[in-house]
Amino acid sequence: MKGLYRPGDSPIHRLAPQCKLVAVVLFAVVVVATPRERFWAFLLYALSLAAVTLIARVPVGYVVRRLAVELPFVVFALAIPFIGVGERIEVMGVSLSVAGLWAAWNILAKATLGVAASILLAATTEPRALLLGAQRLRVPQLLIQIATFMLRYLEVILDEMRRMKVARESRGFTPRDVRQAPVLAKSAGALFIRSYERGERVHLAMLSRGYTGTMPTLTDDRAPKTQWAMAAVLPIVASAVLFVS
């Protein structure tokens, strides 16, 4: 399961995952804590993310396209000025709520920055590395284990879906209209059990090779201080902006 990961070789890609994780969370906290009136603080946050994007050599278009995750909330945010209560102003003949406008701006700005930061994290860090990072940050083993299996199973499910599709098609099946829905529904039921059992067998194979619940870490993955220092730049810049503004 690749998630949003884009393989690459940049200083950001090379940064230890635990450092990136902490940096992104701190950044999000600073952004959320910023009063919504400080427009230019948000502008500076956006600029610092843009700088990270450049250093990481992640295409801007990629980030923008992935921002679509936010879409339902954008729709919501845009509607608030119309349905918001309280004092109203006329903008081009439409009556809008003042508090609603503020709220919309607040949600849009903060959510967009938060999502963009997460996208950058996910785009520059392999999911497995992220899990290792979380493990280093002392996230409870059981959670890591469930997440590991989950990513693994997403792969198994996709794989089984692909196999089943090839098998169906090579026996003359073309999903063209609703009448074929029962076939798909049936194979969906089988898919759950099949993926489970495939995953179970794989898990048993892991156990029989001495797996005890933690992936063996083959390298010393403690991050050197310089890495922490590099990662700290983003949240420090952000807090400086917050403080100065």
């Binding site: 090839v166 098998a167 098609e169 090579s170 026996r171 003359g172 049936k186 089988a190 059990i193």
Partner: protein
């Protein structure tokens, strides 16, 4: 000409090139064994024959129809493919539904469909398991059901990717008997040279993505140097018998 592959080259999406220009024709009613070392490209070639993979270069023609988007349905009706891994073949919740899937897609219904299903399962000796989920069968049982799913479709060309692996010896012989009794063109990938000898009058060696030899099975298996060059060898205790009469 029933099956015609011309200059076929193919590279997987990750860049591994598996076929480097394969040319091969098989006439109607022939039974041909496709031999070659692991990783030679046999499965890759076979997957082109009913359009699961599409040629990167060159073309595949089945019964006069080039394998392309328009003809795909027709080609798949004619070419029955038994995969190397039975798990790739079975996907419905019960064996019955799985075997019925192909014939039902071809329009069979009711009693006729039932008959096709039961007949195919009886041929491979799995009629007892008709209501069990395929993924709860043993590996060899799954392979037998996989063979049944294709037999039930009554294809004109049967392509089998290592059908005999994981089968017990009796089932192996029974499969050979079934194949001999059908009036179809057969292309069978196998690592079991005696089995190739028993079943196919002609053998093709695919090695490193190209055809390395093509001729009567008896002659090919008798050429020790040729075999050794392509990681093939006759098994322990095997003496080349005189080939059986075709039947």
């Amino acid at each position: 000409m029933t099956l015609d592959v011309r200059d076929l080259a193919y590279a997987y999406p990750d860049g591994t090139q598996a076929l480097f220009g394969v040319t091969l024709s098989i006439a109607r009613g022939e039974r041909v064994a496709l031999l070659g070392p692991n990783g030679a490209g046999k499965t890759t070639l076979v997957m082109h024959l009913n359009g699961i993979l599409t040629a990167g270069h060159g073309e595949v023609v089945v019964a006069g129809l080039p394998v392309n988007k328009e003809n795909l349905r027709e080609v798949r009706r004619r070419v029955g493919l038994i995969f190397q891994d039975p798990d790739d073949q079975l996907f419905m919740p019960t064996v019955r539904e799985d075997v019925a899937f192909g014939p039902a897609n071809m329009g069979l219904r009711g009693a006729e469909l039932d008959r096709a299903v039961v007949t195919a399962l009886e041929k491979v000796g799995m009629a007892d398991a008709i209501d069990r989920p395929p993924h709860h069968l043993s590996f060899g049982q799954r392979r037998r059901v996989a063979v049944a799913t294709v037999l039930a479709m009554d294809p004109e060309i049967l392509v089998l990717d290592e059908p005999s692996s994981n089968l017990d010896p009796a089932s192996r012989r029974e499969l050979a008997t079934i194949l001999r009794s059908l009036d179809v063109t057969v292309l069978m990938v196998t690592h079991d040279l005696p089995y190739a000898m028993e079943l196919c009058e002609r053998s093709v060696i695919l090695s490193g993505g190209v055809i390395a030899a093509d001729g009567p099975t008896g002659e090919i298996l008798a050429d020790g140097d040729l075999l050794a060059e392509h990681r093939l060898e006759l098994p322990y205790g095997f003496a080349v018998p005189t080939p059986p009469a075709r039947g």
